[in-house]
Structures are given as structure tokens and as C-alpha cells.
Subunit: 262 residues, 2 copies
């Protein structure tokens, strides 16, 4: 490949201690991930960026370390040197963005609760505390953030045990806080039903963020709306809020629903 065109310049000139971010950074921003080395010292970040995109695109098993390191323009061994193993690299991709996002979610929920002064929050308010940090992530890092949300949605459905256990740990605290909030917002709903509906909400959110391209086309959704995460979540939120407030189906209701006879 055309990888090591200019491997390493004599950099004595640039060694001025705390330098303003050098030109190499700008180059690495302009060029796509699949391009040249650019060697700005931040090999770890380059690997994480490439891994984020490629794991999203092909999944964990189908993405090789050679593919990642080539796309990042670094040596193959760098991945194991910096992260230890492929699994640890995968987890590092998540913790980099998932931890801040979930902390944002809990902080926003706490701010809403403080502002409400003891009054229970509305479902819409709680849902927005889950969505806004995701939206922020989707917008902040213009490309990387969106990729990460799609990766996250897909990881939810991944059967690999280490992925499931890892996500469970990452989400445990946040889920607990939001279940409590929904429980107070819906005092007449049995606690068990609250757990189920929170599960449905998380599922719909992650599934929607995963962006199943092909199935969207089938649903006759406008192509220009497919990648508009803000619009997407604004359509999903009313749907979920109404579902959360739905009356619990009685035994007779269910009997009626599921009887095949008219």
C-alpha cells in the first residue's frame, strides 16, 4: 500500500514544549480515516476513530485488527500495544463516549428533579433527559458521534457475552435512576409494569438509533429524513410517551385481543 510515504520528519524544529496544535492535526481532520499516516503522536485516538467507524459498519467479529490499523494509518501491533486485545479495544471505543453520555443523562434528570422541587416529573420530561444527551452526541462530533450511536444500537443486539456483560455494567446505574423517575411519574402503574415499559423504551431507542437502512426503505420513509437524528427522535418521543401512559391491559382485554375469532 501507499502507507509510509513520509514516515517520520526530523522534528527537532517542533519541539517547542507546549505547542499550539501543529499543522499535522489539521491534515488529519481534512483527510479521511482511510488515508495517510500523519503521525501526530495520538495513535490511540486514530485507532479509536477507525475502530468506531469499522465496528459500526461490519460488526465486532467481521472487523479485523488489520482493517482497523490500516484505516488508522498505524502499525498492526499498535492496537495490541495500546489496548491489550481486540475485546479491550472494543470496550475502549464504548467507554470513550458512553460514560459521558450516561453521566449527562443522569445530571440532566437530576437538574429537572431539582427544578420541579419535589413534584414528580412528566414522562415527556424524563424521556427528554434520555434523548437530549444522545442528540448532543449526534451533533457534537459531526461524523463520529452519529457513527457511535449506530454502533451502540447494534451492540445492544449483539450476542457476544462479553459485550452484553459490558453494556449491562455500563448501563446499570443510569437505568436504575430512570426507573425510579418513571415510577414516580406513573404512580398508578405497577412497578413491574414500569420495568417492562422502560425496557421497551430503551429497546425502541437503541433500535431506532441503530438505523436499519434497508428496512427503513421498505417503510417508505423519505431518504432525506433517514439521517436526521433530531427529527427521528422528535417522532419517537411522543410515541413512547403515549405508550408509557397506556392503561395496563386487563385479562379480558388480552383475551379479546388475542382471540382469533371475531
Amino acid at each position: 500500500m501507499s502507507q509510509p510515504v513520509v514516515r517520520r520528519l526530523p522534528v527537532e524544529v517542533v519541539s517547542s514544549s507546549t505547542g499550539a496544535i501543529p499543522a499535522t492535526i489539521a491534515i488529519s481532520v481534512v483527510g479521511k480515516l482511510t488515508d495517510k499516516p500523519a503521525d501526530a503522536g495520538d495513535t490511540k485516538r486514530r485507532i479509536l476513530d477507525a475502530a468506531e467507524e469499522l465496528f459500526m459498519e461490519h460488526g465486532f467479529e467481521a472487523t479485523s485488527l488489520r482493517l482497523i490499523t490500516t484505516a488508522a494509518g498505524v502499525n498492526l501491533a499498535a492496537a495490541n500495544y495500546h489496548f491489550g486485545s481486540k475485546e479491550e479495544l472494543f470496550q475502549a471505543v464504548f467507554t470513550r463516549r458512553l460514560d459521558p453520555m450516561n453521566n449527562d443523562r443522569m445530571a440532566l434528570l437530576a437538574a429537572y428533579e431539582a427544578a420541579a422541587g419535589g413534584e414528580p416529573l412528566t414522562c415527556e420530561r424524563i424521556i427528554s433527559a434520555m434523548f437530549i444527551p444522545a442528540l448532543k452526541l449526534a451533533r457534537d462530533h459531526e461524523q463520529g458521534g452519529k457513527n457511535f450511536l449506530r454502533l451502540l444500537g447494534r451492540a445492544y443486539a449483539d450476542p457476544a457475552p462479553f459485550i452484553r456483560e459490558f453494556l449491562s455494567r455500563q448501563y446499570a446505574e443510569m437505568i436504575g435512576r430512570f426507573r425510579a423517575a418513571f415510577g414516580e411519574a406513573l404512580p398508578r402503574l405497577p412497578r413491574e409494569e414500569v420495568s417492562w415499559r422502560l425496557h421497551f423504551v430503551m429497546g425502541a431507542l437503541s433500535y431506532t438509533l441503530a438505523g436499519s437502512d434497508g428496512l427503513k426503505l421498505i417503510s417508505q420513509i423519505q431518504p432525506e429524513d433517514v439521517d436526521n437524528d433530531e427529527l427521528l427522535l422528535k417522532r419517537l418521543a411522543p410515541f413512547l410517551a403515549a405508550g408509557l401512559r397506556a392503561p395496563v391491559g386487563t385479562a379480558q382485554d388480552q383475551q379479546q385481543w388475542f382471540s382469533e375469532s371475531d
Copy 2:
């Protein structure tokens, strides 16, 4: 492994043309999939059964043909001989059960519409036309059916292009029929909104059927309920029906929801 303990008996004795199913079959029913050869002629079915379970458990990429054929008690080359390639085997696992299920769904919807005699159906009726065939599948083949539903839910989120294109083709007709039905059931809802909400319904259904074990535990759901698909869908259906009937969020609503200020 303990695979070929007795490879092939001198079978001249048994060559009595159409033999009653030999004892080896009984063994293969008693023993789990991971057991002995049993060679009952139905190599294809044995491979499909093992593939269904293992694809569900480990995903497409992480499941090797050697794992499948060993579990099925057949020779490695049998997979390629009967199905051509690993991808075609994967698709065969789906078509075996997905085609009948989707046909059942459309037939049930048509029966409901005929019984209603021109009147539009309720959302609950349409949802039950989607759910009942899935429930039937979960119950009919006691183990295989449930495995397949979980496999299906996970395949929805798989990034592999050939899986996405395959599922798009499999679902195209059914989705079209149900979108039309929901459009008539919700005449005041804009058509574009109907498409989105159908997308949400499909997502919630497949995600729920995928059964994300670890995350369920986090949600504090009773362990004995986790594998009860009937109970699960009876909780999901009211949630979705209410979401489908939710009023479309106005611009002001959304502004209010997503403003961080109180």
C-alpha cells in the same frame, strides 16, 4: 471429540429397503444436538436445527461451519454440499420459518378485514395479526421456535449487507400490507407518520423478541417472566397500541420538550 465412536456398522443386515426408523433416531431425539451422528438421512434438517441454535447463540460471523456440523453430528462437507455456502445456509435457516410466519400474518390480517366488512380495523386487531403468528411459532416447535424468534430479532440489527438485503426482501410484502392497514385504522395520521410508527413497532417487537438477557436483569424483571413470550407480548401490545394512537407532536410541543431550560 467423541464423534465417530461407531462410524458405520456393517449394515448388510439392515438393508431391508424401507426400514422402520432405526434406533439411531430415538437416540438423536433423546440426546441433545451436540450428540452422536445418528445418520437418519435427514442431514439437511439436522444441519438447519443446529445452525438455528448456534447462529442465535453466537451470531453469524462467530459461528463456524465446523461448530455447526459437529453439533449436528454430520460431516463438515455436508454443509457446503447441501446448502452451497455458509451464507446460503443462513438464509435457509430463515426461509424455513420466516416465510410461513409472514404468510400467516398476512392471511390473518386478510381474515380480520374480511370479517370487518369494509370497516377499518382497530390498531389492536392489526397488532394482534402481527403477534399471533409469532406466538404460534414460539409455542409450536417448543425449543426451535423460540430460538428462531431470538435469532430473528438479532438479525434485524446485524450490519452484514447480505443479511439486511435478505430481510428487506423477506419483509417487503408484509410491511406493505400492514402499513396500508394501519393507514386506514388511523385516517387522521399523516402517511409519513404512519410509516415511522410502523417502523417503531417493528423495532420494538424484534428487539423484545431478541431477548437481551443481561439488560433484562438490570430492568429488575422477574426471572420467571423473561422466557414467557406470551406474557411479554401481552405487555408490549398495549404499549404499542397507545403509541400508535398518540397525537402528532406539534412544533411547540417539541420545542417545549427539548428545551433544556425549565
